[in-house]
Subunit: 244 residues, 8 copies
């Protein structure tokens, strides 16, 4: 996708705040603005970055925000909407389904993987991608996944979220042609090693179409699937650059 | 299974050779005689232990024997038969199928897992168990396993052998009611870590009926499945002890 | 064990709840219904799944339930009985010993391994298996185990629970002919690495009849031993399928 | 991408050879035929699978073939072309650039990463994707990457191959909008841990558009990038399925 | 730098307190007095060591002091100044910039790395080095670092602090000629492994001028850079020993 | 040391309590009675075991007791004396120095290693060994250890306790002829890995006289040194068995 | 044991050779001369060090010498005697049993552990200790160890050598009062991790009298046991220093 | 150190060869030209890079060259001089001692660490630094290091090379005021883990002046020490840039 040179301006690419610097050039370069990683940032800092981005017309997403911090932030910036499962904050409405781009499905193995799957979900909504969810289809019930094949076999990209043995992406991989972004979760105990077992399993997948992101990295899994789906959509529309 | 007290004798339980000691009481105690672990033993030592066991009427199994050592041993003890895939030596004929006990199936994921699967196979033959093989049904081809369900759904116990992501036992686990003994193999590369990835995957299996043995431990997987199947068979016959 | 075809019905195999899906076909396929893994599920979800299973006549087991959550659940579903050592909830009476099937013994090394051993115990009671307990016979006191040999040498299967160096299954393995399901626990400190030391020790056991499950996986150890014992019992009775 | 139902036929999905089974349904399901993983397979097996695929009109790719095995295979099947850097065998001509689909760039950090980068290259040629190479632009020379930005900033997908500290994908990630498939290599020594250092670095990338595959998995990196690029191309052409 | 023999005295090199011993000879031997590592020491012990050092005319630095302990200590020893970001206590004024020695720059990748960067900062102030800070220039925004090149390209030594993939020191390394002391932080999650990912990345840096210290070891990074800068400064002044 | 046959009695070797079994034969077999490992045992259990041991005339030691549990226990069994640094409980007076046996020195590297060193200390007092302490002589101050050489060069055995890089035992090893029992502590951070760094360092010690025990295992280090010293003392007295 | 001041001389403590330095003061300080670690040293260097030690009247031991290097060395220094199992070279006759000191037993678990056990054996002979061997008494045969109890229950110290699960030292520990030096071996495969499994097992031993040395460190295990036994012997003789 | 702007030219910064690209701007930016990392490069490639560098008047250093490759290269480029211990190739004469800059000492622990120490040595000679060697002063002989203190206490920077427990840098750190670059080596066995034990030990050093580089990274240790020493030398001469 060619970078949109028309958007190139003289303005400085970085805005220096007291405690952080904001990459103002990112939308031009990478198609989407900066996402605020909430861990280790104060409510004030997060609200300030969000305001700056918002004032430039960007949609805003902040991840890894616990409930207490979310409450603090929404007092500073009431338009931020919190999703307590995904632990994300967003500014910007969901696109109506007809305007949403492409087709991404987020598949998760068990009930405990839900928070990570929902972080991917929120990320995809923020990107303007069309997204649907298929929950609790882990490999222990072998009929569960095929029963729902119709819901995901035509996707542009899949996000597959699983903890424990992390086998779900390998099994899904055998059913579809699109790229799969596998997200290991830290769900499990003992030799799970905080998600390392699922991570290694996914990296060693015998399915050729499985790429992997960090443990519990729902955002990154969603973002990558969203890039594939929205860029494919844009190219079908004869568009070279994301437009939102 | 009650231990067969009638077999208890006064003879000393251990036979001391120059370089090893043989546990002569094992068949009474554990149902099967000692198996010779070939790694780190000379051809002479292996042949000597085999002769002693044979002279006491035991069936003999030696594992982890490379071709060169097998050739040396068969010159010393010609009745030993070598299986070059399993890298095992045996003395004692295969039982005719009608006399073999129980029903064990060894399932393997890929072509490269064959040597480990065959070590399990040879072990089960040595135990007098009825055994069949289902090869190359890894999860990347989702239709391969269900196509062959009839071959293993009635087994007394399964041995499931897989490298790479080690997902096969979890998937098989959802189809059957019997215990599964999962054997991770060192097949793979990179983040496979010499089989650790498959091992961790199997230990974290969401299927309740999956137990695990060491990496590449085809013998142990086969032995455990053989215990389950032959003891169930013996109890159905009203027999308390293995008879071979 | 052949699957009980008479139980096959037209009903859909999966019941979709708001936050989870229940595998309704599992008893037919695997001999026992789904077990509820409590970690990461709300009290409401657990009670709802339990009610659905109960309404279909299944016995119910939920594991990894802390006291607070157990209290919440029992307000929603008073018939659930909590075991605070095992941290399990059950619905369904213990079978009278005469009706219980087979013979499983759960052996544990030290006082601190008790919670894991009790999770195995509760699981076996839920399966309708006959079960007895041998506590605190770790290898540091070499006479403790032989003193109690009569209690476990005739078992159909053993569950052996140990933390620290995890040597107990290897030592027990030399005394018996039946399969042993070894459960490493996270009891210990320092180079114990949260149970990894015991896990590795058990995987490397020189005893041929030792299979291993995940760290602290009392449920899985109990379930596997229960499968071996109840299926052997059923086959002796000329029964092909579990009946409870 | 909807699966091409018109290609659905009655023929059995699996062809059972003596030592392997071939997934004949894969092209319909996944868009591309099976790839032959050469490790642990004999020359005979590889040639046999290749012949079967070829006889069905599929393009053939085999990976992880050393020179000696390649020589054996080309005596059995002379039309197979060997690439000694990539250690791959292929049957099927390169598409003329005008017919090749999409636009993938393979970027590598150092001279020693070349074999892995070339495995990705060969995979992309086999898929019919348009591909170009940017070599030796590791982060130690900070001007090297920007000098060549024009060669990769418009790609549909990137494969970035790096050993040692594995920083290159993170740096590339800041310049582009497309998905990046990062391939860690085992190049390095000491605390490199056979590629684990680069793998962890890539998994923890602060760039949102970086997904990771296994160490030295040039094939998988190429395959995923090829899926993104060819499917985007096909959708622009109003085509739903790959056509080659 | 020759040790200052004139400072050699007859006094005993070690002062024995109740709960600790103080190395009174360290300034002569190593150029700077002992630094108090606060972890695991009581407020009383810290205050006592600080008083003893102060009474001998040394400047005092204590690291790893949480707020509660800092409050306790400042009641015992009010002249100690606390920096709540760096979690350090100091006694002794900052040198005026003109008197400060050499030129060290502390560069950090993200907002969350700030506490570690500030520990380095406080350490350098305590050493009497001239120090400036460059924050939030991680590799995800590739223009951020070059924009600020003028601020650090003439430094005598750099401290580069980064978590996650730890790529920043490698990138900085390509721009400068001076030694870089890389400090990995435990910022991140999942496969970050508490900073191990960043640590391995830095150890494997392809940049020749990057040395590494322990995870979160802001003190040590600052101390080493301070040694390089102040000793170079002293040698330019014709001074052989530090003078403060 | 020959076992004291005169102490052999007919009494059963194991006392079965509700929640634990006590090894009553241990003093005869091993020279010292059981030590109570407090982790995971309730105050009631610990008090009950202590009472039983006391009623048989044994000296009592319990380790890993936090302050809250210690308070509970001393209400049940007031004669137990708590050491809050070592976190141990003891019953039985310290022997007067003249009656204490042998000569053990416990050397520790830093202030933070004190709790582990004190656990060794309490263990040695309980064994009736003569023991002295040398604190805070870590290798960073190279003159500290030689200054105190006279205090430990004539010991029968040394316990050397160190965290961080764990170098102290290697350095001490070069000065003495007696066996050294090295105890790594979990003191440190980052790449310390909870004491693994010190543990590995000690296992790889180039000093021939260094044996290692588990991380933070002050009890075990003290116990082993106590065995060496008291048995040497007893043999000098012409005594074959411990007498206390 | 007080150091023998009478042996103190004016001679320099270190002899500087071209490629190594010899610690000439070690016998005075540590009771025994330097041992030559053969790995990474040339035959010439080893022969030169051995000659220098011999010319000063010391007994000589060199470890980790393969057969080829041993042949080279014995051409340079024919009095060196090679033990091909232990891979050690020695100069100096075995003491007649009556003159040998103390009583050490080396116990090994399996045939493959023999080389490490023999390295301990050779070391003890070199030290002038009385030593006997108990081979192949691993825990899989539970009667083997008690059968031979009389051979080791009166030892001054034990060396226990085991690979695989490393359980033997824990079991032995329950039978004896003396210190045990446990030597893990790299015998095993898969999750054995080159001896790490046995090492961790031994470090976590529930037996209080078990100290551990490095994997395959037969020399160190033997040396420590030899120190305990010979120093106890010397003290019984009223001797303070070793005399050989 | 300010970069030498007078050397800035218009010439392209990168020279693209067939199989590698050369960073021609590095001397201006970083003070020294590129060093050729020999691993994974052919003799032809190395000779070609060396020729290009030489033709531009640069001094040449290539590391990690085995003897066979060195012979090949010296046929192509006879002026390259090989050091078989360091496994390095150089072009350019050693500077006479009087012209060499600064003062670096390379200290190594044992004979087996020599190759890594010599790689550091060769690197320092190539940089034009004054360098001396102190070999075989490991901590097991505590008098060896102090005996040679005069040789290194006045250095501008030290390189300390050690395998096994890696304690030497910590001990040296207590004697000197200058920065220490610690190089762990893979010398050792078992729990040494290929140098990881020494690496962790050095990272956790309690000495404040110890920075660490990768395992066996003699080049990097030498390079960093050389930067410190030569830049200090240049600044004393009133020179801002390296001149060679």
């Amino acid at each position: 996708m060619p970078r949109d040179e028309s958007k190139k301006t003289d303005q400085k690419a970085t805005l220096q705040l007291a405690s952080a610097s904001i990459d103002l050039d990112r939308t031009r370069r990478c198609g989407f603005p900066e996402v605020i990683y909430g861990e280790g940032k104060t409510a004030e800092t997060i609200a300030q970055i969000a305001s700056e981005l918002r004032s430039r017309g960007e949609r805003v997403l902040a991840t890894r925000i616990d409930l207490a911090k979310a409450n603090e932030i929404s007092q500073l910036l009431p338009e931020m909407m919190y999703d307590s499962t995904a632990r994300t904050l967003r500014i910007g409405d969901d696109l109506p389904d007809a305007q949403a781009k492409g087709n991404v499905v987020v598949i998760s193995a068990g009930t405990s993987d839900l928070p990570v799957a929902e972080e991917a979900h929120q990320t995809l909504l923020w990107m303007g991608a069309r997204v649907s969810m298929v929950h609790d289809v882990g490999v222990a019930g072998p009929h569960r996944l095929p029963e729902r094949l119709a819901e995901f076999e035509n996707a542009d990209a899949l996000v597959v979220v699983a903890g424990m043995e992390g086998a779900l992406p390998s099994v899904v991989g055998g059913y579809v042609a699109c790229p799969i972004f596998a997200v290991p979760t830290s769900v499990g105990y003992g030799a799970n090693l905080g998600g390392i077992a699922a991570l290694l399993s996914m990296l060693n997948s015998c399915a050729s179409n499985v790429a992997v992101v960090n443990i519990d990295a729902g955002f990154k899994g969603g973002y990558l699937a969203g890039l594939v789906a929205t860029q494919k959509h844009d190219s079908m529309q004869g568009q070279d650059a994301p437009a939102h």
